[in-house]
Amino acid sequence: MSPPAPTIAGTLWRPALGFAALALLPLVFREPFTLGMVTLSFIGAASSLAWNLSGGYAGQLSLGHAAFFGIGAYASTLLFLKAGISPLIGMWAGAAISAVSAAALGAITMRLKGSFFVMSTLAFGAVVHITAVNLRDVTGGSSGLAIPLQPSLGNLVFADKLAYAYVALGLVAAYYVLTRALAASKIGYALVAFRENDDAARALGIRTLPVRIGIFALSAAMISLCGTLHAQYFLYIDPDSVMSLNLSLNLALMAIVGGLGTAHGPIIGAMLVTAVSFAMQAYLGNQISGLTQIAYSGIVIAVLLAAPAGLGPALGRLVQRRLAWQR
């Protein structure tokens, strides 16, 4: 596990290069199917970056973050459909609701240790999911909600799907910068101290609880914005697509595969996980049902056996070795 980023300056060229490469992807993969893959991998990367702040840096694995994603999607969509409020405003309402509910949840459950905390987030995710299914009058239940296709910036609806890819990439960039800044601050250190050794942190006077609750709320708000973007991209939401346990697991998986508690890990993980799942659907999708999932989990296990700390750190070491070799 790598220490918190020592300094921000001096290592900026590598991320800049990375983002330049990411910015080319939507132009290279212009086919609707592949553009969809790129866009969803960006939304996934932003979501996983949000998850990683709490799940990676503080090591508090949440399996309920889909609830906040869903709250974001439903808040902006409902405000738009029922009150005509632009999703550009509605998404902040969703973020606020997510942040407040995360703070309330965290204040209770963050006193729990290890797997007990994980279970509590799992329960929270399930409760929100079931509530969304059953509140038919408001959410439309399992039949979901459709957003009318009226392209305009105010509606956050675009005729050209390319726009979504770049909006999502903008979000990824913003979250990456935020993650780097937080990791290098006292907040980042406090989170890592808690993850590495709670008792040692307390003995050194580091109050991690308020920091962890605050970051959990921030992470929920951030992922909530991703939910709104997801809704605007598909123009349709239902509880299974924006609140399922599967989504929560995927967010965690992206960060774990890419490298927990690193700023670039969730991005690498999201690209890989999304690409693999799209490839599986394309080549195996219509064969035997369930084969996709089996192949998918096989790949994930292979990655984690080869690089237990995630692909991001493994790639980093490879690059460093190459550079050292050249010198």
């Binding site: 220490p3 250190y189 406090a190 890592v192 050794n197 008792d199 040692a200 003995a203 050194l204 006077g205």
Partner: protein, 246 residues
């Protein structure tokens, strides 16, 4: 500068009384050693003082202010800091970052904390280890790191739990000199130690525990001649033999 006072500290774990009626006063510029056989309750006393455990009876105060009800974090803020007998490094982090964690308590920013951490590591002669992951340090360096982390918080009272354990003689000698230096700076130092020669060289006062109870207090010279202490450490027959020889 602060005086740490404990009165009547008692802690029971179910039917076992781990600590019974322990009291002492540790003053600035003095080193108080707590000694006793394994299982005497020494570390439990530290846990009670630092708020990791709550006493069933008794109380502790820092400069007259009661510590009851304060969390470990709050006690550290008040200037009371400990090291752990089983060292607790942040294993995945570098030596520097470990010490930065301690320095953050009184530093306004990570940058300021780094400066403090550098200074502390320099004092402990650890500057060559800055970037080494704490998890890969040998035990002697881990003990010094434990000390560095605690010092970086800017304590008034330092509780050291067996910082000599596992050190080679040269390291013990340096550690003794270092702890004396801290005392001379006006820190209040309480040490738990098994290394008897170190205890005798360091201590201004010694408190001896056996089965959770204080059995003797005094200066090193008094303690080394105390028959009750000799009996506790070496067995009653040995103590009697010692008396007979005198």
């Amino acid at each position: 500068m602060a005086t740490l006072k404990a009165e009547g500290l008692t802690k029971r774990f179910g039917g076992l009384t781990a600590v019974r009626d322990v009291g002492f006063e540790a003053r600035p510029g003095e080193i108080l050693s707590i000694i006793g056989p394994n299982g005497a309750g020494k570390t439990t006393v530290f846990n009670l003082l630092t708020g990791f455990l709550r006493p069933d009876e008794g109380s502790a105060s820092l400069d007259g202010k009661p510590l009851a009800g304060l969390s470990p974090e709050a006690r550290c803020e008040a200037g009371l800091v400990r090291t752990f007998q089983i060292v607790q490094p942040f294993k995945g982090l570098s030596v520097l970052d470990n010490v930065v964690m301690g320095a953050m308590l009184r530093a306004g920013s990570v940058k300021a904390a780094r400066i403090v951490a550098h200074r502390v590591l320099e004092e402990l002669d650890m500057l060559s280890l800055l970037d080494t992951p704490a998890g890969s340090l040998p035990i002697g360096d881990r003990k010094r790191l434990e000390m560095a982390k605690a010092l970086a918080t800017g304590p008034k009272v330092l509780l050291l739990d067996e910082v000599m354990g596992g050190l080679i003689p040269v390291e013990v000698k340096r550690m003794i000199a270092f702890i004396k230096g801290l005392r001379d700076r006006g820190l209040t130092v309480v040490v738990i130690e098994h290394h008897m020669s170190a205890v005798m060289q360091l201590s201004d006062q010694i408190l001896v525990l056996q089965n959770g109870q204080p059995i003797a207090t005094g200066t090193p010279a008094e303690i080394s001649r105390n028959p009750v202490v000799l009996a506790a450490y070496l067995g009653p027959n040995f103590a009697l033999a010692g008396e007979a020889a005198c």
